[in-house]
C-alpha cells in the first residue's frame, strides 16, 4: 500500500530531512510516525501526496511511484488520500458544510449524492448539527474533526494526519484518535504523525520512530 525504499530528502542548502528511510505499510493498517520536532515526520508524510518529492529512493502508494508522477497526475493521486493537518487548513469564509463539500466539487457525484455524502461525513465526526456554522465558531477539537470529515468525504483508501492532536487537550486528542480508529476498522489505512507518546501507547499500533531523519528501533 505505502512503501518507502531508501528515501532521501535533501533540501536546498544540503540539509537532509530524511536519510535513506525504508518501510512498508500494508492496506488496512494503522501506523504512527513518532519522533521529536525536526525528526522528519512531516517530511515523510509530505512525500506520500507528493507535496515534496524525494531526492532519491522510491515512494510507492498503491504501487505507484509518486516521486515520478507528473504534475498533472497529482490531483488524481491526492483524491485517493485523505489529508489532515495540524493547522486544519479550513476555509473560514465558508460554512462547515461548504468546507466538507469542497473535495466533492470535482467528483463525479451528482449534487444530491454529494450533499448526502457531506452530511454523512459530518455525522460521522459529530458535526452535523453545526453544518451551517462558520469554522471559526468551532472549538479546536471540532475544527480538527471538520478537517477529518473533509479528508474522508471522498472515501479515500489512505488517511494521513500530521500532528492532528498537537493543539488539543487530552480528551479531544483521544476523541480524534478514536475517529481515526473507527475509519481504520472499515479498512482505511491510517498513518498519523505525532510526538505524543502517551497517545501512541494507548492505541498500541505499528510505530515508525524517526530521529534526525532516520528510522530507529
Amino acid at each position: 500500500m505505502i512503501s518507502f525504499s531508501a528515501v532521501v530528502k535533501r533540501y536546498p542548502g544540503g540539509q537532509e530531512g530524511l536519510k535513506g528511510v525504508s518501510f512498508s505499510i500494508e492496506a488496512g493498517e494503522f501506523a504512527f510516525v513518532a519522533g521529536h520536532s525536526g525528526a522528519g515526520k512531516s517530511t515523510l508524510l509530505k512525500l506520500i501526496p507528493a507535496i515534496e518529492r524525494p531526492s532519491s529512493g522510491a515512494v510507492l502508494v498503491n504501487g505507484q511511484n509518486v516521486g515520478a508522477l507528473k504534475r498533472a497526475a497529482l490531483p488524481y493521486l491526492r483524491r485517493n488520500l485523505g489529508l489532515v493537518f495540524q493547522d486544519q487548513k479550513l476555509l473560514y469564509d465558508r460554512s462547515v458544510y461548504d468546507n466538507v463539500m469542497l473535495p466533492l466539487a470535482f467528483s463525479e457525484l451528482s449534487g444530491r449524492e454529494a450533499a448526502r455524502r457531506a452530511r454523512a461525513a459530518l455525522d460521522k465526526v459529530g458535526l452535523l448539527a453545526r453544518e451551517k456554522a462558520n469554522p471559526i465558531q468551532l472549538s479546536g477539537g471540532e475544527q480538527q474533526r471538520l478537517a477529518i470529515a473533509r479528508a474522508v468525504v471522498n472515501r479515500p483508501s489512505v488517511l494521513i494526519a500530521d500532528e492532528p492532536t498537537a493543539n488539543l487537550d487530552a480528551g479531544s486528542a483521544a476523541a480524534i484518535l478514536e475517529i481515526f480508529a473507527d475509519f481504520n476498522k472499515v479498512g482505511v489505512t491510517v498513518l498519523v504523525a505525532t510526538h505524543d507518546e502517551g497517545l501512541i501507547g494507548r492505541f498500541a499500533r505499528q510505530v515508525l520512530r524517526l530521529a534526525k531523519g532516520s528510522l530507529v528501533q
Binding site: P49, I51, P75, Y76, R78, R79, K89, L90, L102, P103
Partner: protein, 308 residues
C-alpha cells in the same frame, strides 16, 4: 459531460460571487474598461457615419469643363469628339444646361432656390474622366493639372474645374483616421488586458489559501483556473457594455449639435450608433480580452502557489 457542465456552472457562479463580493471594485474596473473601449468604438462609429457622406461622393478624379453660354450644340459636339479622341481621356460625358438644372433641383435643399430663378444660369458642360496612370493609385495630380490647363485653352471653354479633390482628401483623411482608430483600439486592448491581468492577480493572491487547499485535496489546475477565466471574461463583458452605454450617451449629446449644423446645410445627417453586429463584436471582443488577461495572469501566478 454532466460533471463537466456542472463544474462550469459552479465556476460561473463562483465568478459572479466574486464580482458581487467586490461590487465597487468591479464597477470601477468595468467603468475604466468601458471608458477605454468607448474611445475606439466611438471613432469607429464616427467613421461609419462619415462613410455615408464620402460613399456618395465620387472619389475618382474628374474634370468639369464648362462651356461659354454662347457655344451652340454643334460646337459642343465637335469639342466632345475631340475630347473622346484624346489619349489621356477615358470618358467625356456631355451634361446639357437643362440636365444640370434638373440635377440641381433634385439636390436636397436647393429645389426652392432653383424654383426662384427667372432663367437657367447654368452652362453646358463636359464631365471628363482621365485615364489612370499605370501603377499609380490614382491619376497623377500633375498630369491632371496639365490636362486641365490644356482644356482651358480650348475654344468655347469658359472654365475647367478639377472635381473630387475634396472627396479624395476626405477619403485619405478617413483612411488615416481608420488607422489611428485601429492603433488606439490595439493600444487600449493592451490596457484592458493589463487591467484584467492585475485584477486576477489580486484575486489569486487573495485566494491563495483556498487555492493551496484545493490543490491538496485533488483539484486539477483546470478546475482552479476556471472561475478566474470566467471572472476575467465577465469583467471584460461588463466593460464592453459600459462602453456601449457611454458611446450611446455621447452620440446622443453630440447629435444635438450635429443635427443643427446639418440642418443648416439642408441635410438630415446624424451620427449613427454602431450596427448591432458591431456592437455585439465590441462586447465579445472585450470579453475575449478579459479572458485573455485572466489567462495570462493565471498562467503566471497559479504555478507559484503550491501546497506546503
Amino acid at each position: 459531460m454532466k460533471t463537466w457542465l456542472r463544474q462550469h456552472r459552479q465556476a460561473i457562479a463562483a465568478a459572479f460571487g466574486k464580482l458581487a463580493a467586490q461590487k465597487s471594485a468591479a464597477a470601477l474596473n468595468a467603468l475604466v474598461i468601458g471608458i477605454a473601449l468607448s474611445l475606439p468604438a466611438g471613432g469607429y462609429a464616427l467613421l461609419s457615419s462619415l462613410r455615408t457622406i464620402s460613399v456618395g461622393a465620387v472619389l475618382e478624379p474628374q474634370l468639369s469643363v464648362f462651356l461659354r453660354a454662347e457655344v451652340k450644340r454643334p460646337e459642343a459636339d465637335t469639342l466632345g469628339a475631340r475630347l473622346k479622341t484624346d489619349a489621356r481621356v477615358s470618358d467625356a460625358r456631355f451634361v446639357s444646361r437643362e440636365q444640370a438644372l434638373k440635377e440641381l433641383q433634385a439636390t436636397e435643399g436647393l429645389a426652392e432656390v432653383v424654383a426662384a430663378l427667372s432663367h437657367n444660369p447654368l452652362p453646358d458642360a463636359f464631365v471628363v474622366r482621365p485615364k489612370r496612370t499605370q501603377g499609380a493609385h490614382s491619376t497623377d495630380a500633375a498630369l491632371l493639372d496639365a490636362l486641365a490647363s490644356e482644356l482651358r485653352a480650348l475654344p468655347g471653354v469658359a472654365h475647367v474645374q478639377v472635381d473630387s479633390a475634396w472627396a479624395r482628401r476626405l477619403g485619405a483623411l478617413a483612411g488615416t483616421a481608420r488607422l489611428a482608430t485601429a492603433l488606439l483600439a490595439a493600444l487600449l486592448a493592451f490596457g484592458l488586458v493589463a487591467i484584467t491581468f492585475n485584477t486576477i492577480r489580486l484575486q489569486i493572491l487573495t485566494q491563495r489559501a483556498e487555492i493551496e487547499i484545493s490543490k491538496l485535496i485533488g483539484a486539477t489546475d483546470a478546475f482552479i483556473r476556471r472561475p478566474f477565466f470566467y471572472l476575467g471574461a465577465l469583467q471584460g463583458l461588463a466593460g464592453g457594455l459600459v462602453a456601449l452605454v457611454i458611446l450611446a450617451a455621447s452620440l446622443a449629446a453630440l447629435n444635438i449639435g450635429v443635427s443643427e449644423l446639418a440642418a443648416s446645410y439642408g441635410s438630415s445627417f446624424r451620427l449613427g450608433f454602431l450596427e448591432p453586429g458591431d456592437a455585439l463584436a465590441v462586447v465579445l471582443f472585450s470579453a475575449a480580452l478579459g479572458w485573455f488577461g485572466a489567462f495570462l495572469s493565471v498562467s503566471k501566478y497559479l504555478r507559484e502557489i503550491e501546497p506546503k
